[in-house]
Assembly symmetry: D3
Homo-oligomer: 236 residues x 6
């Protein structure tokens, strides 16, 4: 029934390749099927000014998409002169998600910037960005631990995200673009390695959904994130 | 336990005053406690260009906050030269929510713009905007029906929204600013008059939450939206 | 002869309601007929940087109009990405006018920002903003005096403004939108409580006027401002 | 008493040189003392879109100042990314003034753009722009008449402007920068060749003025504009 | 003598991998040592408006750099709200270079947009963009030929570019970042497959160079481009 | 053969008038035929922040064109809200060129800003800006030497620029607009007074050129710059 022939609860093939750029403190290329995102983590010695003197660290994220990552070319945001509302929404989401897995006291007064750039898009780019962004963050933090810049590990748990939705009347896991553009209801679920919820965003465009469907989607997302966490573990 | 002395499932006092500006096709001033939002609906004869020739209508929303709606003055977005990511996120949310309650075929190829301007803020401004925005939309559609511009009612159900969160370890309904700024986990729930879900946005900043807590918050939101829908009915 | 049936020298009904928002140090909602402007005054501990170390204070103003304050919806300036020339012209005018009634030494090195937001427009919004803005400023300064932050009153006189113009060949006082959009010549007169002139802006679009007409308009404005000052006194 | 040694009602030396650029349909370099403004008029075949089909023409103006036209360098507005409020205010003023001297029916559905660029500034740049801009406009219209593009002269009268103010307690004519920066009260007066008023803008920064002073300044401006109109006549 | 140990006329290892994204009509990942650029070509049915009705086609380019492509993170241009002068200069250069190898009549009234996004930077990104951009363009044109959209090949020759400069007093070929940041004189040479010059940009920052040095650099560039053209041929 | 009737190696008439504005530390109006550029140099006590504490000075340039400097009016960049890619490219070029003639140690930690504003354009505006900009810079530096602010002359040589190109198959010197808009290949050559090269920018739009042609153009440019340097010497 799914355009890709996948089962309702079947995820796309996941691959996470680390160390893909020589400059960044942490980096990976995550592939969730045909969605490919390059994630880099940059350590900055200074925290944002609103944290000055607090001893607390910060993790933030930026998101971008290459103009021809999609089927038809999108206008380059740098040329348009601003980031779209969608881009800003996504990068705020990635940042919040990654911060939920961090002990900001242990991180110390510094900032880690996670850049997620979509090389090729086929649905689920914000989820892939979170899952891959966590790997880049993990690698950058490892560097801080190794050099002794920090003494205890500020990462408290894995963070990963998956999309779920109702496609052709059925709850499905890990929507690709063909499904995403047709689904009346879909959303993103961000969970920790231990299965705790960080963020739930279910949204119906021109449709509504029931409490029961909400429950099924939460079940699917738990299974999906467990798979992603395995892939994260394998990558590091 | 709540700063306001309210019970865990107690909402703030709601008031919806309609017809508050002489120019708009529909308008109301919604007060949820100390959060006051002026909502107006404007009917435009043309739909956005991406709908040209489809016969489908559109509902969109814009959101703003007066500089001194809050405890300390915020920079005016018009002076800053752009809408913040937060503003864009909110107005996209309001638009999606209101469209979920509309039959776009029955609306016909026109657009209704709902403006939500926060006069005074005390938490929950996006929820009040959705609840009040629906009333303004309803009044504008009534005008279209009355003049015969459209023949069947495009509004399929009420749409209203309420915030819920975990404050001091307890699930609470309808957070005010004092709670909102302290809650580790909070979110917005948009439902129809019949209790169907339109959008769920639960987010943990520096915390996580369980499936059980998610369930309790969904229960609270159902009760809260039912109250808001009553207030909408009373207002019209 | 006037669309509203008013006499040539008859002003619209004026009402000034104070204390309309709980956050601002001073606030009022001024209504001049169907023109309604919400004015708030915010006290900031720091003066602008060009005054650093001078001991002098500053009063500045910002002006905005809700998108549907007018008969047809205007594009939101925050969405357009800039304030129009008209908006900037008006807010510069309000700021200059209010500063003319202030002893900047007595105010001390701090700033008061007066925000004037038009809720509903029917002509004369800049004049209503000045008259109402002065009330918000007065209330904020009262707070400074009460707390002992300043010891002598920096407000040297009332400041109020009224529009006059030549409509259908006759000099008229306090133009509403129907007159304003037709008048070949119109302008704004800002005076103190003692009747001294602060600013005169007469402008002819596609017409010209004589010295005699200028004199009559100055007479009308003196009478009009006297009425507004009475309303200010009653409000405080 | 005046820094320049001029008498209270003495204007600076005026010179208007026409035909200073080979491309523009009309052009002049106007010098009012040390204030030098290059004015060009460009004829465009199309009127602005809001006039489409009305048969009416339009005259508009743009104003700029070279970065080092002043004593200390100003940031280039093109580099800053926007025109200041002051620039917009001035160019709107120039446009309104020039339109007051034009019969827009006789002009026909086309637009004339008058660019006023300040090469060197010493006070009174907006007045010089109006006086010189009118000359450029006159020359461009002459070209339209000569080629037969229009048959009757749309220019109904001269338009010229002069500043007046109260400097060191005395009403003075044609303020230079030294006076302008000290004057508590000053303004701009735009009149026609026949002495009719087009625009009066008197403004007090930190001071106020009386009806009598207003009268004296109007007298001075009439004399000043008469001199400028003579210079315009001599130039053409 | 060179930081990399290369000989004066030795180029870095070149690799060109084609077909790297599934959406673009033509794509490649070019690697010149540690400089990696992803190039995609997008075919658009419409030419830019200035070519409407001429029957001529257009090739244009856009350039970007991922924030952490470099040793220290650069601010994202989309977040900064504009493309830097450097970015605009580079993308104008790439576009001009590629157009020099195209018969715009044979291409027909359509546009090909070549996007060059630097994944990792180590000097010479604009040259790699031109060399790789030509491959993406070639592949996209092949698609047009294959589908019969055009009948004769509009590509008249290879286009490739290499940098040369004077490093530590010696003329060197294909500068990497370590050399580029130290070289007093360096530049970019764009040539065709037949060795004709398209563009020469030699620039001295804080130094000057002689006619003889210019000659040597031109010799080096001819040899370098010949190597790049071989790599292009091998890739297709 | 040339539209102007000039010989292939004949330059336009050059005139350089100094001291043309009373405010700038150095200024000139350079005329190369019908191309007229006003150049001013402003001395700023502070160097840019990236030089803080280095003891090194900086020279930078900004470039602008009056809207009607050209045959058809160009949109004012300040109104458009940004400088075009072309403008940025040119002003970066002027800055680099002038810095090549300066000893930044001798200049000391200060900045000189050279503004080049095109009053009338007929091709070659960037070359005229460099040649005239150098004169303004020279005059400003003279002022620093005269006041004793610096003790040794930081100007190491003249800097001047000329365009060359291939017009109607022939190499020509100093292209005017009629030639520039037709030439398949053209470029700018910046040299010192001693004939050393600073920058070479040859570019072919829809054509290519040979090594031999490159040589001829270099010869022409040497002769042309020698003439410009004579004019610079005469002007000072």
């Amino acid at each position: 029934m799914r355009p890709s022939g996948r089962k309702l609860d079947e995820m796309r093939v996941i691959s996470i390749e680390t160390g893909v750029t020589k400059h960044a403190e942490g980096s990976c290329l995550i592939r969730c099927g045909d969605t490919h995102v390059l994630c880099t983590a940059t350590i900055e010695d200074k925290a944002p000014s609103f944290l000055k003197g607090t001893g607390l660290g910060w993790v933030t994220a930026e998101y971008g998409m290459l103009p021809r990552a999609t089927n038809t070319r999108n206008r380059r945001e740098a040329a348009a002169g601003k980031q779209s509302g969608r881009t800003q929404e996504i990068q705020r989401l990635i940042g919040r998600a990654l911060r939920a897995g961090i002990d900001r006291v242990a991180l110390g007064e510094r900032q880690i910037v996670v850049d997620c750039d979509v090389i090729q898009a086929d649905g689920g780019t914000r989820c892939a960005s979170i899952t891959g962004g966590w790997v880049a963050l993990r690698l950058a933090v490892n560097k801080l631990l190794k050099t002794g810049a920090i003494s205890s590990d500020p990462i408290v748990d894995h963070v990963a995200a998956v999309s779920c939705g109702i496609y052709a009347g059925q709850p499905v896991l890990d929507l690709d673009y063909a499904e995403d553009s047709e689904a009346g209801t879909d959303g993103n679920f961000i969970l920790t390695g231990r299965g705790r919820l960080i963020e739930v965003q279910m949204s119906a465009e021109g449709a509504t959904f029931s409490r029961e469907e909400m429950g099924t989607l939460l079940d699917l997302s738990e299974a999906g994130v467990a798979r992603l966490v395995e892939a994260q573990k394998a990558a590091i």
